[in-house]
Each structure stands twice: as C-alpha cells, then as structure tokens.
C-alpha cells in the first residue's frame, strides 16, 4: 500500500538510468580489460619501480593480471621477493 502511494506521487522513481549507469560501468571494466597488453606492461613497470624502493623482487617471475568474477574485477599481482631492503624503510 505504501509503495502504491509512493508510486502515485512519483517518489519511488529514482529512475532506471542509475541501473543503466551501474551496469555499464561494470561491463566496461570487463571490456577494457581486453584492450591492450601494453597497458598491463605499463602497470607492471610502474609497480616494479615503486616496490623496488623497498625490496629486491624477481621481475622475471612476477605476474600481474586482471581477474574477473561475476561481481568484480580485481588486479592480482604475484611478486616473488628476494630480499628486503632494510635501509630504505621510510622514516617519519
């Protein structure tokens, strides 16, 4: 009954466009994942740069991938660590 009243006065209408936007956003993350290997390489290179400030890593064995499930897309990185760089710990 309450719903009906809401409907009558148009309050329920958050509008289907928000559903459209949300679905599009998600589907485009999936679509864009396929776009280019160079893109993934660029991410990988930047990650190496940052992480190398803190530890020695095995760049050859490093894996960076986008994985997808039904509900989300995740960036998964598997980075073998050779040695920690104790001296470069950020001091605050």
């Amino acid at each position: 009954m309450f719903e009906l009243i809401q409907k009558l006065f148009g309050k329920e209408a958050q509008g289907s466009k928000n559903i459209a936007k949300e679905r599009l956003r998600f589907v485009l993350v999936h679509d864009r994942v396929n776009v280019s290997p160079q893109y993934m390489e660029a991410i990988k290179d930047d990650m190496i740069k940052v992480i190398s400030n803190y530890m020695d890593i095995n760049e050859n064995e490093m894996e960076v991938n986008l994985t997808r499930s039904n509900t989300q897309v995740a960036l998964v990185a598997n980075i073998p660590v050779n040695r920690m760089k104790r001296t470069n710990l950020p001091s605050e």
């Binding site: 006065f9 148009g10 309050k11 209408a13 958050q14 509008g15 289907s16 466009k17 928000n18 459209a20 936007k21 679905r23 599009l24 956003r25 589907v27 485009l28 679509d31 864009r32 776009v35 280019s36």
Partner: protein, 263 residues
Amino acid sequence: MGEVIVITSGKGGVGKTTTTANLGTGIALQGKKVVLVDADIGLRNLDVVMGLENRIVYDLVDVTEGNCRLKQALIRDKRYETLYLLPAAQTRDKNAVSPDQMQQLCKDLAEEFDYVIIDCPAGIEQGFKNAIAGADRAIIVTTPEVSAVRDADRIIGLLESEGKHNPRLIINRIRPLMVKKGDMMDIDDIIEILAVDLIGIIPEDEYIVISTNRGEPAVANNSAMASTAYRNIVRRVMGENVPLMTFETNESLWGKFKKVLGF
C-alpha cells in the same frame, strides 16, 4: 587540403547515416565543398537517405578497381551546389576494398574538397577498418542506451589503437522527458562514462523519419529540434563555439501540482 571526418558508432541503427547526410548537407549549405562517402559496401544507404539513389552510375569499388575515374563516380547533388556523394557498391562485400586503397581515395578527395565525410558501417571488422583508414578525425554517434554506449566505448579504444586520438561524441535520440524522469541516461552520465569530448546532442524527433522518407536531409529546411541540433553541430565541426541546446520539457499540470505540494 580538406579534412577527412569519419562518422562511426560500432552499433548499428544509432544514426550514423542520418548524421553523415545532415552534417554534409549542413556544411555544404555554409558554402564549403563537401563529398559524402558511403563506406558501407554491400549495404549502401546513404544514397537513399540523400534522395540520390536514382543517379548512381559508378561506385566506390569501381573507383578503387579502376573501372572509372574518380570524377565519374561522384554524384553532384543538384539541390546544394557544393555537395557530392560517392556511393558504396551494393553487389560487392567489404573485402573488395583495402585500408590502403581507402587512404589513397581519401587523399585524392581531400585535394578537391574542403570536407570528406565518411559514413562507416556498423561493426568493428574490415568495413570499419577501411572506413577509418584515411580519416583525420572521428565523430562517434551513440544513443543513451547501454548497448550503444558500450559499443561506443569499444570503438573509442579501437580508434585509439589505430592512432586516431580525441574522437568527438554525438549523443543522438535523447528524449528529454525520460531524462527528466531519470529513466534515460543524461549527457553528463554518458560523457563521464566514455570520457570523450562532446560535439553535439540531438533530440529524438519525428521529423527525421519524415525527412528520411522524402530523401531530404532535415538540416536543410526546417525549424524542427533535430534540424537545429544538426546545424549547431555543423558550426562546431567548422570550428565555431556554439552552446549546447537545452530542451524544454513541457511539464505536466500534475507535475507542477506535485511541486507546489512539495513532493
């Protein structure tokens, strides 16, 4: 040297051909020399939308295969002094032309014309690759629907990987009342998702159907909303700064009543 602009979308039925016809006619009405190229080989339609279907002798494939000279295949639109059409072949398929041939063709046309406007086929295969090969810039047509926006995004990615940067976007068939009700994605929503620059918006308008029935581009002679919208885009394509049109939605009496009541 003229400018080569490809009109593309990914999805079919969003208004590429109508947009090509109206932009081309609109630019010609500004006194510029324009040629429209139908790159949809095997499914030609720009000729009927332009009302020039009875005047075709040679087509694009005849030109690339050397069966005729380029000038012989160009149809001059008698209504607009500076407007020409290069029709697609109807009995061939998209593999009858290569990207290299299209590049050469565009180059030749750009020497003669101020604007070369290419109507790209739907899809992302050979026909698409041919159509964009010789283009200096791209205009993407989409509608406020999930499927059309998704395909537009794909096209933007493909254009990027072919070195065609900064495409411009036309959002076609907007229904202001539905937007107002929150039942249709708005301009800002789509721009935010696609992250490209807008070059124009076109409201859904019955006059487009009528003008297509007649084979007379809407941009030429009407006060219809879509005609004005196309004229605005024409000016922007030619480098002018024109503000986006706003739609007045005739609010219902009940709507006003609700507002007064504070709902």
